[in-house]
Subunit: 720 residues, 2 copies
């Protein structure tokens, strides 16, 4: 085995480690681990089945989910797994099957032109989009590397020259419009090209992968590391694509660390690769990625990308908290990195992942906003308030600046629709994004943020949105009153929006309250809509709704409004409330809206000719014909329903009043609980950390520094 | 401890066991078991918290879910658990707290009249319905029995005379309209009264409980055992109430076995109590009770009733398959029966419960129909076809004779709405049944059975329905072609309905096919609607639907139709198909309907002013203006979606054609698979087991005995 081959897929070495091969014996004599043993068994089942089925390398024809698409996906997995199994077992049948597959590709690949099912993406050769071709190459190189030395020279030459090199050429010089972008598709291409370069000993391919086709460093892997992640390791397109993009970043980084140790790739940009891995884990709830932007809500840490990332992250750091994630995953990768990590997990080295609040700055310099995660416990299922004050996130970004989400033990409570897509389901437009992804899922009304005049932010043009960040004004990640304050002036012409989202712990309440103070400030007359998308069954409301009981209209004509069935429209003087139930818990949403606010209960699913949309409820607060509007809302989780024991506690809200006043340049919110206690929350316009403020509330003085002050007031007349 | 007290709650003795007390020492020296230890810890936490909170016995005021309701529920649990803990630990604080609670009830109870929140149920004293008072007494007696001997005579006297005896009197002589019924409310009353009788040594109470108030045997516990269960142990009201009713049956039976061993109660009526326990376990899928009739779908074997039933069933039989149910439950009861069972579970005696197909005859003689369960594996989550050819089930029965359900690994696939109710949620009418339970949930259109002229069966009058059974014509519970054939002539005036439901295993298909052949035969002109309520997201259909995209109407005016929003109406010549996706699987519903059939896709939730209904999809096949109609439909589960690995297989159906012909007095159905194979299923009108039939299909002869024949035909022109 050549040094280069051995290094290619070595366990991610710490950057300072000397460049020597990791011999196979060193990994196979590690402590046996049930996790890794199960991977080996699983791979044997897969590959042995593939051996029995024989080589099947069809001429490409079908789009995502179709037969040839799925077969080529199976093939690259078989090549990857077969190669690893040959390394682990030395059994000839694995080598021979990988060889046979690759030789079949050597027959097929040079004859291929653009894929016949190409759509609006850059076409691949094996797949309808070149992205999948990159994924093929990243996997195939890793499998091939493990058998290459064991092949006759003629076979090696044929596979090198008719599969690996032409694929790498197609994805580099042959596709400048892909590899020279700053985009996850380019990272996959760079990883495929770079891994091929290391394997073939082709420095030209490696340098193009690292530095762009012209090797200037204006494109390529290093530039992608500079621009695609914020300094906190947050990926501009959001958690779903952070997950997706991670695999080529970590796999290629591990190969660079092994082959070009002097680059100290894990130290690059203050350790950005490791930050990206950690942040990917942090942007989950109960192991599932927050479905911000184009995202499937069923994606969790239990995915191939994260098996690689956790194994490589652990290899590079030996941080035992990675092991608890591997334990939750219940899976790892077949590589030496996976093997070494599983061995440490098996001997009990795991420690819990420290889930906590985080302010993840966005933009390459971290100056274009942030994704803020407010958590009150380290429990992965615990309360989580997400404030999306981020950049646009390119073509997969949604028009949801200043939006928010809320999760807790019952799952998603204040929800994001995610993407309108049935991944790989052929009957749903070949598994691609559906028309409703533009018309509904990315529209502002489909999110929990202010809509002005029934338009989406940036007039629904993501390229416009791409030019503007969001302002992350202030945040506090700890203590009983966590918060994030953000603002944006560019989303709508002439309307400034500022929002404070607070997560308030209260003695005696088992769950925190989520307070929302939102100002829309413009001139002239506008329609201001504040939607709340929630999950659960409506229990009751004190709003008098005129219900659409026997005939149902849609709310509007365009920008997502055409997809909303109206269930009812109503009004309420003073504070209003809607209560719903999800799982074992009740949620009351209290509102102190501007005078004249109308309320709509609606549901997604109208104007959906192909049944592409899920049907989910939304409550909308609407102010019509005002220059400015302030919405103050409070989400209160309460009570418990136990179906097994048939018990219910606290099915009614503990919050009895919610008041808002402007005092000087301060928003003062008073929350009254059923036991008479009150909590005063004051948010100053001046968010400077050193600014001092004071207010008088019922004769008591509240004085504080920074934007947010709080005063808990005992029951009036109470002795203590 | 007196003999009687000790016996009252003894582990269910085998009937022949001699009547001697089971000393406490004998149970506490059993092998320690984690399951029982956890119960003791849980009970200690509950009771210790109650001790700290102090005695709280409020004047009854609230309906279900309200404060006083929940407090009295907590109290009877505390009395039960406190008594058991005193037996197990001998610690005085448990005795003292139970005593204090019971003395507080001695102060309160004699002063109470009918409950102020009484509704249309018979009012209790402590609760809005007397049923809950019965449950209180059953629990309180069991707790009190454990401390009674340890109390000063004066306390004992007071509790006997001011709590136990007056409660027992109220529930016997004081409520003849309850205890003399043949109904689960009467069983709870009988159990409370009977347990009180054993405890107080009051033979009069015992005999009234066993034989009715006049002691003639025309009412009371034994008569309930005769009439409420079919010979197969199926409870007339369905699985949900079978579960609910079970606790008083098993607890009282165990007490009778201990105190009146000569009655051999576990042998009574060929072992009906044990049959009832076994059948209760069988009428579940994945541990959840089939939500037939008025039922909450979240009820599982993890309920107090089944903890008692499994412990007592195991005690009476030592059948180790009960232990696997206890293991799934993860809970047991604090009684000696629970302790003994948990000890055997801890030493590894459990064997899997033999879930299989069952024909559960219905009606006291087993002659009024059946609930048929067709299963293809013993896996509790495996495929399950349910044919509901049962009796009405009294006031909680739905109008769904000849209806069907289908479950598999993804959960409920062909669904039953269950009850329209939010159990114990005060804002939803105090947790009682909602108006939509009558207007929607019990209506025929809300079920998977034929609706004639938009009416419910028996004109929606359950008392009429109560007079008529269903005919269970034939069934086959094993082999590759399992089936049930049922008929009813009384559900609609002048229309006879006959339905064959078959579960067909096919080589090479991982899941069975469910075939449905339904004949509605009348005279004149009728509208025949066949609904299919399903769970999942619509993928596609070959029916051309006119969609209600921007305005939505309701399907009808009454009988449940007013609750259906129309999504679309369409037609299709020849075979029609609708495909949906649930979890990781696809389902195609193939239809060979009569010519001129129109198809509706609709959704529940219209005319629902209080948001009481869940919104669930339904497909309806409609024949309008015919004397008779035959609907032939086939449910095909297929394919797999793996969100984690991003793979999809077989998202399109394997069934390509479905044809139906009448040949003589036989229904012949031909199912063609994508690989060219065909399966011919023939169902003869003459269902006699010894009848012989034959048909010629493409030159081949199919000859069979009994109602159903099958011929698998290889691909035409295939060599083999």
């Amino acid at each position: 085995m050549t040094q280069m081959l051995a290094l290619l897929l070595a366990s991610a070495a710490v950057p300072a480690a000397p460049a020597h091969p990791l011999p196979v014996a060193a990994t196979t004599t590690q402590a046996p681990s049930p996790l890794f043993a199960a991977e080996v068994e699983r791979a044997k089942r897969d590959v042995d089945a593939s051996i029995r089925a024989g080589v099947n390398v069809p001429v490409p024809k079908d789009p995502g989910g179709g037969l040839t698409h799925e077969q080529h996906k199976r093939n690259y997995r078989t090549i990857f797994e077969g190669g690893q199994l040959y390394r682990l077992t030395g059994e000839a049948r694995y080598r021979d099957h990988v060889r046979a597959l690759l030789l079949a590709y050597a027959d097929l690949y040079p004859k291929l032109g653009p894929h016949p099912a190409a759509s609006n993406q850059v076409p691949g050769r094996l797949f309808w989009q070149s992205l999948n071709d990159s994924v093929f190459l990243v996997n195939a190189v890793q499998g091939y590397a493990e058998i290459r030395d064991a092949l006759p020279a003629a076979d090696r030459q044929r596979i090198d020259d008719q599969v690996i090199r032409p694929m790498a050429r197609f994805l580099s010089d042959g596709s400048p419009e892909v590899i020279n972008r700053i985009h996850n598709h380019a990272t996959w291409a760079a990883a495929g090209v770079g891994l091929s370069g290391y394997l073939l000993g082709d420095r030209d391919l490696v340098d193009k992968a690292l530095l762009g086709l012209d090797k200037s460093g204006k494109a390529g892997f290093l530039r992608q590391l500079d621009l695609l992640f914020s300094p906190d390791g947050y990926y501009a397109e959001g958690p779903y694509y952070q997950r997706y993009a991670l695999q080529p970043f970590v796999v290629f980084a591990a190969a660079i660390a092994a082959n070009d140790p002097d680059r100290k790739i894990f130290d690059y940009r203050d350790g950005i690769v490791l930050k990206a891995i950690r942040t990917a884990i942090d942007v989950t709830h109960d192991g599932y990625f927050l479905p911000i932007n184009d995202a499937m809500p069923d994606k969790s840490l239990r995915t191939e990308e994260l098996y690689h990332a956790v194994a490589i992250g652990y290899g590079a750091t030996k941080d035992p908290t990675f092991l608890s994630i591997a334990n939750w995953q219940g899976r790892t990768v077949l590589t030496p990195a996976g093997q070494a990590m599983a061995a440490d997990l098996a001997v009990g080295k795991a420690k819990p992942w420290p889930f906590g609040s985080r302010l993840l700055s966005d933009g390459p310099e971290g100056k274009n906003g942030a994704l803020v995660l407010l958590r009150t416990k380290a429990d992965p299922k615990g309360p989580l308030l997400v404030a999306k004050n981020s950049v646009q996130g390119m073509g997969h970004g949604h028009f949801d600046r200043l939006g928010w989400l809320y999760y807790d033990e019952t799952g998603a409570v204040v929800t994001d629709y995610g993407a309108a897509r049935f991944l790989n389901v052929e009957a749903k437009r070949g598994g691609r994004y559906l028309p409703e992804n533009d018309s509904w899922a990315s529209a502002t009304i489909a999110h929990n943020t202010l809509v002005v005049d029934e338009q989406s932010q940036f007039a629904g043009n993501w390229k416009t949105g791409e030019k503007f960040g969001t302002r992350q004004i202030a945040a506090s990640l700890d203590g009983p009153t966590r918060y994030s304050i953000g603002a944006i002036d560019s989303a709508y012409k002439d309307v400034r929006i500022r929002r404070a989202l607070l997560l308030i712990s209260v003695d005696g309440l088992s769950n925190p309250l989520a307070l929302d103070i939102l100002h829309g400030t413009g001139s002239g007359r506008h329609v201001y809509d504040l939607p709340l998308h929630f999950s659960g069954h409506i229990i009751d409301s004190d709003i008098m709704f005129d219900r659409e009981l026997a005939e149902r209209r849609v709310l509007g004509k365009a920008n997502g409004y055409q997809h909303l069935w109206v269930d009812g429209e109503g009004t309420k003087a003073g504070k209003a409330r809607l209560t719903w139930m999800q799982g074992s818990r009740f949620y009351s949403y209290h509102m102190a809206p501007p005078a004249g606010t109308r309320f709509f209960v609606a549901e997604s699913g109208a104007n959906d000719p192909d049944f592409n949309l899920r049907r989910e409820p939304v409550l909308i607060q609407r102010v019509d014909g005002a220059a400015a509007a302030t919405f103050v809302s409070l989400l209160e989780p309460h009570g418990a329903y136990d179906a097994s024991a048939e018990t219910v506690v606290a099915s009614s809200a503990r919050v009895t009043a919610l008041e808002h006043r402007r005092e000087k340049d301060i928003d003062l919110v008073l929350i009254t609980l059923v036991d008479g206690r009150r909590i005063a929350i004051a948010v100053a316009d001046d968010a400077a950390a050193d600014a001092t403020h004071s207010l008088t509330i019922d004769g008591r003085t509240l004085a504080w520094n920074g934007p947010v002050g709080r005063l808990d007031i005992a029951k009036t007349g109470a002795k203590k």
